[in-house]
Amino acid sequence: MILRLKIEARSATDGHLLWSRDFNNFTDLNITDSQNGLYLSSYYFGPGNPPTIISYIDANNNLIWQLASEHDNLYNLFFGMSLDENGRFYATLEHNPAFDDTYPGWDKLFAVYPWDISYGTNANEYNWGDTITFTATTTMQQTNLLTGVNNKMQIIVDSNIKVPLAYSTTTSDGNTVWIGTYEIPSDNIGYQNIPFTIEGSQASITTNMTTHFDSPAELTNNTGYVVSGSFNVYSPVPILNSISPLLKMAGDPQFTLTLNGSNFYSSSTAQFAGVSLSTTYINSGQLTAIIPASNIVFAGTFNITVYNPTPGGGTSNTVGFISNSGGGGGGGGVWLPTFTPQLPISTSTSIINILNNYTTTTKTVYDEIILQSGGTTINSTTTLTSSTTLPSAIFIRNLKKGMRNADVKRLQQLLAANKEIYPEGLITGYFGLLTEKAVQRFQLKYKVVSSIRDPGYGMVGPKTRAKLLEIFSK
């Protein structure tokens, strides 16, 4: 009784053994390919269900795959192996009730092509909710021709989502085409390069590649062939429908803003006048964001947007958030988008700090302000895209009654921001009596002078200039 087979690899230099491999079957040693891989047929003389197996062993004695004939109660023998220049393997398979030629069996000539899977998708880039169509073309046939059992294919998306592929057609060159679809979810994904693997499972094949079929499971262990790929999913432009609250009082403490819309995901960021906020993703239709108190020091209407990172993504439409100036503002406290004396007390440096974080467009306005503050008359009707601005509080020279210049005008603008100090609010550029009194109120309020007898009372000297800078820089 032949019980075992051993394959030996020996040096042709001296015959010493390099490696060996055992089989449970009787065999011939058949054919090697251009990579010195070995195609080996093995079979078994005996009753029962003897498997007849073709094995492929690479040059380093790794078993790559085995193909078994699975015909019960037959003696199955492989004969006549050939290997062509394309790596296609040809052989005959003989089935006999008994290996004695007493009764007829039947035979098959078959070809085993190098197992290959190529794939295509209906696009290279997708958005949320798109349906991706996978088309896999493979040398694996719809059915294992030696056993009649259907083969299977699937795609595993993002390591865990299994998408079955259904046999579609056979090409003119004998490859089979398998198709499956997968709908990209619309929730909590942003731009991603999503990996996938295509797995094929062929009946009666054992390979060194692990597959992950569930139901039905692999016909035998590791029956697969696996190729990998990926596709890109871009996040869409977010849409902002509403915010809550819509209104806060200038000077209120920090609060949480709720943003409602669509196309939000975990990397979406709420923005306040173009500046990103600390944002929490709730779901694809809602975000929350922390509005720090410093953002609403001033009254005004501020642009609220949502930003999804690129590629894809972008900035949503704008919804205005109102920081009310408080009582006495008239008109419900709605800030008018003009540069008017309605502005609350603020400082230019605070504005600078904000504007430095503004979008380019807004910064252009800021630059304009700075330029104007350097000596050019500020157009009181200059429209800003957002919050208040005051001219620079930096004065490089002393000012006193009787002077007329742009610095005086800036001074008047600053003083007029507080009606207690400059109730008249006239912006003339001329340092007259009203301006002098406003300066005096400022000096007293901020204790620049200790009494009205101070020689600098009513004049903008070094101490007053410093105080102006201090106050309007807060």
Partner: protein
Amino acid sequence: MGTSGGGNTILGNNELYYNTRGVWINSNLDAADGGLFSINKDTGQTIWERQISSADGGKSISLSLSANNTLYSPDVYNDTFTAYDATNGSLKWTYQFSGGHTNDESKIADDGTIYTSRENTTIIKIYAFNSDGSTKWMYSTSTNYTGDIKSETRFALTSDRLYFGISTADSGSYAPTDHGRLYAFNPATGELLWIYETGNISSSIVVDADGTVYAVNNSSSAIDKKIFAINPDGTLKWQFNTGLQDMTYNNIILRSDGVLLLSKNIFNFDNYPIVLIDTTIED
């Protein structure tokens, strides 16, 4: 392939040629013929087919394909050696042996000469046919063998050597005889160049680029098994004694990287050896 025995395959440019051997189809020894086929190797579509023989007792039939697109196949049942036009399957010529059976192996030289053999109980003849079917030369081993000559004769061919290995058996397949030899001929003339006493050779013979020929003694269980590397001049390059084992080597392949692949079948599980030999024995 239908009701028949398994066959061999050989590749042409775009064709795959294969044969089937005839089989007995019932206990009355009614036989089904085998066939010879040409198919498109990409599509499997049959190009031509022809009947070739009836049942032969279980031997698969070799195929050889020459550069001039001639298929050579022995017909063991009819004791002939036949050449077919591979283009259409038509018969080109047939050589009828007288007595004995052909062996299932043939080799084709670059000049179109085809080498094959036949044997009966005690002698074996080696034939060199020209491509037109005429006999170029023939060599007879005469009565050198006391045991029955087994059919497992093997060829290897280089530009200036035709190697031929013979195994014998007194009775039964595995009787303890060891009378096989390795022959070297001038393939052009049939001149016997040398004989090396290897013992039975029933596995294939391979030759490397330097002309070293590798063969394995495949004798019965009572005789040590040896692997031989023999120089083209018939001197021993090395030999490797794998010991007394209940097994036979049945094939050798020489890989392009200089590794010999050998297969052997183990007959007794209890004595299943672990072969780990790391010495070279030259004697």
